[in-house]
Each structure stands twice: as C-alpha cells, then as structure tokens.
C-alpha cells in the first residue's frame, strides 16, 4: 500500500489539521472531530451532516455559507459517534433547530438517532432526512433500504440554501426530502480502493472487468461485467436510473469521480450522458463534473440525476461558499 500519510490511524486527524490550515472559513475542532463554519449566519436553521471519512470532499468540504454548519467525520468508512454528532448539533443550534442530513447506512442512521436523542435532551429541536438515492440497491421494507450516495450533495446544497434564506426547520426538512425523493444515483468501479487500515484492496477486480452498482465504501457491487466503453457504461447507469425514475424534464446531472479517475475521463462520461439524453424529453439544465463523493483511491464514477422543479433550481443556484462548492460569492 502506498499512501501519502503519516500513519494509518492518523489520517483523519492529520487531514483535519490540513483543512484547518487551508480554509479560514472553517473552524476545526480536531480533538472532537467537528468542522464548523467560522462565521455562521445568525438565527437560521442549522445543518449538520457527517459520515465515514474517505469520501472527501464530502462532508467537511461542504461546510460554509449556504450549505452545512457542521460536519462530523468518522474513521475511514465508519460513521461518526453519537457524542460527536450531539456536540456539533448543540453547538450550531441558534434556537431555530437543526437538520441532520444522514446517508442511509445502518451505522449512520443509528449513530445520528442516538445523537438526536442526546441533543433533544439538551433542548435542541432536531429533524432528520435520510438520503437514499442509490438505485443499485433494491428498495424494500424488509431490508436496510437504499444507500445514500451522490444525492447527498444536492440535498445539502438545496436544504442549505433554504435555511440560509430563513426557512423554518420543517420547511428546510421538506426541501431536503424533496431533493432526495427526486434524485437517483448509480455507480461503477473500474478498480477497488485500499483503506489505510486494511492496506490492500477491499475487493479484487480483474483487469478486464468492472463492478456495477457499487456504493461509496468499497463494498462490492451487484454484478460484474466485462470492461466496456464509456458509452456502454454510461448507458448502463442511465438505464438503471431511468427504470426507477423516468428521466424527463429539467435535470441536474452530476458525473462524480470515485477519487482516482482523471477529470478528463469524467468529462468523457459527461459527454456520453449529454449525448444519450439528447432526443429524449429530458434537458440537462444544471450540472456538476468532478470528485465530490469519493471512495479513497477508487477508479470509477457515478451518475446522479435530480429532476428539478423551479424551487429546487432556485435553491441550487443560490450562492454557496464552501471549500468544494462555490458560486455567487
């Protein structure tokens, strides 16, 4: 294993020191592993998110004006713990309440649940939205349900914009739920990833195969198929999404890299998405191409689509100023 680190168990802490040094718009509590906005907007509903590390820039890279008020990074691929989340929640509450944006993984759900109870004991009103956009996972009442992946960026951006505009907690939560309900993702891996603790790739993937329907933790996907062109891989992703949520109307499309894929290849994939949607009743009116929700050094990509309406478009366009997403300021 080759990594630019000091020690496998120091990555999260060292990276937080780096964020603190690089971003003066953030206030980083390295000991408690909480990344705060340095100058929060007074009186507004606060947004807190978090999850395993290894998905950078998610979540700490989305802390700032118009998006999150605090992020709680866990160990690599491991959800944060209740005390940490509760502390962040209590700290950012202005009295207007706090929205927890939680990716639907058992660990994240349970730890955020416990944190919400602890924060409620301190008198904080907490609402929670579960992000579960990954169509690679069968949606069923009898299972853990779908994973949360790329749509997290949309939910955090749109709900953050609503909060910044002064919407009350219930409304901010409703925006978050709407953004999630209208979004779907599908991911494909060309290679596995290597966690610093394990020191070797999580799964073996032969040179001539790709893994379809991967998540963001290096979990194996639903099936393997032979390595194919960007055109064919994008077609598989769009079909999987379309089968669940028909692709029509105004779309926000993200082609997201898993961390190890060159940007030029992500543009190649985006060109395919655009070409394959042409002629249908679907229009890409907003887009994002880059590494936003990653899996360490994994090579691969995911496509996330949100069916916009006027409100969501407006919230997406609203100013944002975070390390990883910035416009309008």
């Amino acid at each position: 294993m080759k990594k630019l680190i000091n020690a496998a168990d120091a990555v999260v802490e060292d990276a937080l020191h780096g964020m603190a040094a690089a971003h003066h718009g953030l206030r980083v509590d390295v000991g408690n592993r909480i990344v705060y906005r340095a100058s929060p907007s007074p009186g507004k509903v606060a947004l807190v998110s978090g999850g395993g590390s290894g998905h950078e820039p998610l979540h700490a890279g989305f802390v700032g004006y118009g998006m999150l008020d605090a992020a709680c990074p866990g160990e690599i691929f491991t959800s944060p713990v209740p005390d940490q989340i509760a502390q962040a929640t209590t700290a950012v509450d202005t009295g207007a309440g706090v929205l927890h944006v939680v990716k639907n993984y058992t660990g994240d759900v349970l730890n955020f649940e416990m944190a919400a109870e602890l924060a409620a004991e301190e008198g904080v009103r907490v609402a929670t939205v579960l992000v579960d956009d990954d169509v690679a996972v069968e949606d069923s009442l009898y299972t853990a349900g779908r994973r949360g992946t790329g749509a997290t960026v949309f939910v955090e951006k749109m709900a953050g914009a609503a909060a910044e505009a002064g919407a009350p907690l219930a409304e901010v939560a409703a925006v978050a739920k709407l953004a999630n309900a209208r979004s779907r993702s599908f991911g494909i891996a060309l290679t596995s990833c290597t966690t610093p603790a394990a020191g070797k790739p999580t799964f073996d993937l032969p040179e001539d195969q790709v893994e379809l329907g991967i998540g963001i933790h290096g979990e194996p996907g639903r099936s393997r198929v032979p390595l194919a062109t960007a055109r064919e891989l994008v077609a598989l992703a769009l079909e999987a999404i379309h089968a669940d949520l028909p692709l029509s109307g105004d779309l926000l499309v993200m082609v997201n890299g898993m961390g190890g894929t060159p940007l030029a290849e992500l543009y190649v994939a985006f060109a395919e998405v655009a070409a394959q949607l042409r002629g249908r009743d679907a229009f890409i009116t907003r887009s994002l191409v880059g590494n936003y929700v990653t899996s360490l050094d994994m090579q691969g990509f995911s496509v996330t689509v949100c069916r916009l309406n006027d409100e969501l478009t407006r919230l997406w366009d609203a100013p944002v100023q975070t390390p990883a997403l910035r416009w309008g300021r």
Partner: protein
C-alpha cells in the same frame, strides 16, 4: 458473576478481538466495508481503559458507553446498547446469579433486535446472539452449572454464526450485495460468538 468476573470478561473480549481483528476485517471486506475488526478493536481498547464500577452492572454499562463513544459504524450502537442493556438489567447487584444473567442477556439481545430492526435470518449479529440467549435460558431451566451453560451458549452462537454463510443479508451493509452476500459468514455474527465464548473462557468460577 462478580465485578472481577465482569472485568475479566471484558478484558478477555478485548484480547480476543485484538487477536482476531484482521480476520473480522477480512470477513467484512467480503460483504461489507472492511472495518469491523478495526472498529471493535478500537472500541474494546477504549473499554479496557474506561471501564469503571464496583458491580458487574456498572462495569457493563460503562463498557457499553465506551463502545458507543468510540466504535461508530453499525456495530458501535448495537454492541453499545447490548452491553448497556445487559448492565442496566443487572442493576447494582454485586453477585449476579446465572438466572439473573440469562434474563439480562435476553434483554440485551432484544435491545439489539429493536435498534437494528433485525430478526434471526437477516444475516447479522442477531443470528449468533438470539440462539445464545435461547441456549442460556434453556440451560438455566435445565439447572446446568454456569460453565456448562455458558459453553452451550457460546456453542449456539458459533453455530448461529456459521449458519449465516448461506443466507442472503437483509440488514446492514451486506444487504446491498443482494444474493452476492450468500456464501460468506457475517462478521458481526462471528464477533458476537467471540464475545460469548470469551465469557465462557474466563468463567472458571461463578
């Protein structure tokens, strides 16, 4: 069970989890995200440092809190709640009978099932814990010696873990794999069996 035995159990669990860390992580790599061993090792190291109390109940509650504080992931809240429920059910009793322990163990397993919304057959730690609870209750009913009773509980947990191999996961991260999760032993079921076995190992007297 007195405080010394409760301590010994937690120490032994920490030792075993550290020794088996890489195996647990490897099991998790196959159908999860390759962190179960690291998670539990981090948690039980903290348990070792932080456990406090003069009764088994206090000690086990403090262990549960340490797990919740340090593990993260799915197994942190689940094992954390299990140990906290176990400890709370034992109250401040300084000398716990096997019967009281079995009842508390039942409460602990129920807590996991409730929190995880999981039942036997979902391919989770419940597949080891529930059979262990049943075996313990039966052993108490049958009037077995504590050591023998715990051996049966550990055996039931180990068999339960093995029996997860053919199952398709319905809960936790392995559920995302659908049918590809079949053919692998559930890491949480294996760690649960290690924990029950650790109690048997140290319970040379009760």
């Amino acid at each position: 069970m007195d405080a010394a035995l409760a301590r010994a159990w937690l120490e032994e669990t920490a030792r075993v989890v550290a020794a088996e860390r890489d195996r647990l992580t490897a099991l998790d790599a196959a159908i999860g995200d390759a962190d179960h061993g690291t998670n539990l090792d981090r948690g039980f190291s903290e348990v070792r440092r932080a456990m406090t109390g003069s009764s088994p109940g206090e000690l086990l509650v403090s262990a549960g809190s340490a797990l919740i504080r340090k593990v993260g992931g799915a197994s942190g809240p689940l094992y954390g709640s299990a140990f906290r429920s176990l400890g709370k059910a034992l109250d401040a009793e300084r000398d716990v009978t096997l019967e009281a322990f079995a009842a508390a163990f039942e409460a602990a397993v129920s807590a996991v099932e409730r929190l995880g919304r999981a039942a036997e057959g979902d391919k989770t730690m419940v597949d080891a814990l529930r059979p262990a609870a049943r075996a313990l209750a039966r052993a108490v009913r049958d009037g077995l010696e504590p050591r023998e009773a715990l051996d049966q509980a550990a055996r039931a947990a180990e068999e339960g873990a093995k029996a997860t191999i053919p199952l398709t996961a319905r809960k936790g991260r392995a559920s995302y794999l659908g049918e590809r999760s079949a053919g692998h032993e559930d890491p949480g079921a294996v760690s649960a069996a290690l924990i029950v076995r650790a109690l048997h190992t140290v319970a040379t007297r009760w």
